[in-house]
């Protein structure tokens, strides 16, 4: 079975400093991995996805993530945090199923706080 572990439940950074949100995955297949963001009172939004192409994936709003198979990690980074980045971030692995669909398995989430 697929699973993801987000290593930090809360991360706090100052505006303008780098962001690192850590995620480890467990998968018996070559995984598809995603990061979703959830702002207060908003729907989940896809930040970026990895599907076995380039290991460094660029997403929206300056975020990127690197797939490292040897470390089973898919950490999310951003060089410089902005106040608007404050939100809940979810690392997600896709679990393939017969019938041709993928079930998304979510991590517990990391709440990012950005301070002036």
């Amino acid at each position: 079975a697929q699973s993801v572990t987000q290593l930090d439940s809360h991360v706090s950074v100052s505006e303008g400093t780098p962001v690192l949100l850590r995620c480890n995955y467990s998968s018996s297949y070559s995984p598809s991995l995603f990061w979703y963001v959830q702002h207060p009172n908003k729907g989940l939004q896809l930040l970026l996805k990895y599907t076995s192409a380039a290991t460094l994936v660029k997403g929206i709003n300056g975020f990127e993530a690197e797939f490292k198979k040897s470390e089973t990690s898919f950490h999310l980074t951003k060089p410089s945090a902005h106040m608007s980045d404050a939100a809940e971030y979810f690392c997600v692995v896709s679990e393939p199923h017969s019938g041709g669909y993928n079930k998304l398995i979510f991590g517990a989430g990391t709440r990012l706080a950005v301070h002036p």
């Binding site: 598809s32 995603f34 979703y36 009172n41 908003k42 729907g43 989940l44 939004q45 896809l46 996805k49 599907t51 979810f90 896709s94 393939p96 199923h97 019938g99 041709g100 669909y101 993928n102 079930k103 998304l104 398995i105 979510f106 991590g107 517990a108 989430g109």
Partner: protein
């Protein structure tokens, strides 16, 4: 509308009552998912529809939960004899094809059972 629409956005009910939550997916999306998100947790899969049929309902917690999608568009999640433990955010998502893994989520329906 342009996005996934869920109604009601908030529902407060009493223990034992029946509840319906509605999801209107993005037009043309054949795949529809329901997830449940408890406070401080990530969303958990409930059920997946491809067209009108429930292709995978393995995430429904018990037989009090049921979902339909009679015309392959709007879906309704139905909860009978609600319990306090059912209190959560219920999320609906849709996609053009079931296997891409990229889902478009609605803002959710927050259910509170008193």
């Amino acid at each position: 509308g342009a996005g996934v629409s869920q109604t009601p956005s908030n529902k407060v009910t009493e223990k034992g009552k029946y509840v319906e939550l509605r999801c209107d997916p993005i037009s043309g999306h054949t795949a529809l998912y329901w997830y449940r998100q408890s406070l401080g947790q990530g969303p958990e899969f409930l059920i997946y529809f491809q067209g009108t049929g429930a292709a995978d309902d393995s995430g429904l917690p018990n037989d009090r939960f049921f979902a339909v999608r009679p015309e392959g568009s709007v879906s309704t999640l139905k909860i009978q004899r609600t319990e306090r433990g059912d209190s959560a955010m219920y999320l609906c998502a849709s996609s053009q094809q079931g296997y891409t893994g990229e889902l478009f989520f609605g803002e959710g329906s927050r259910l509170t059972v008193l």
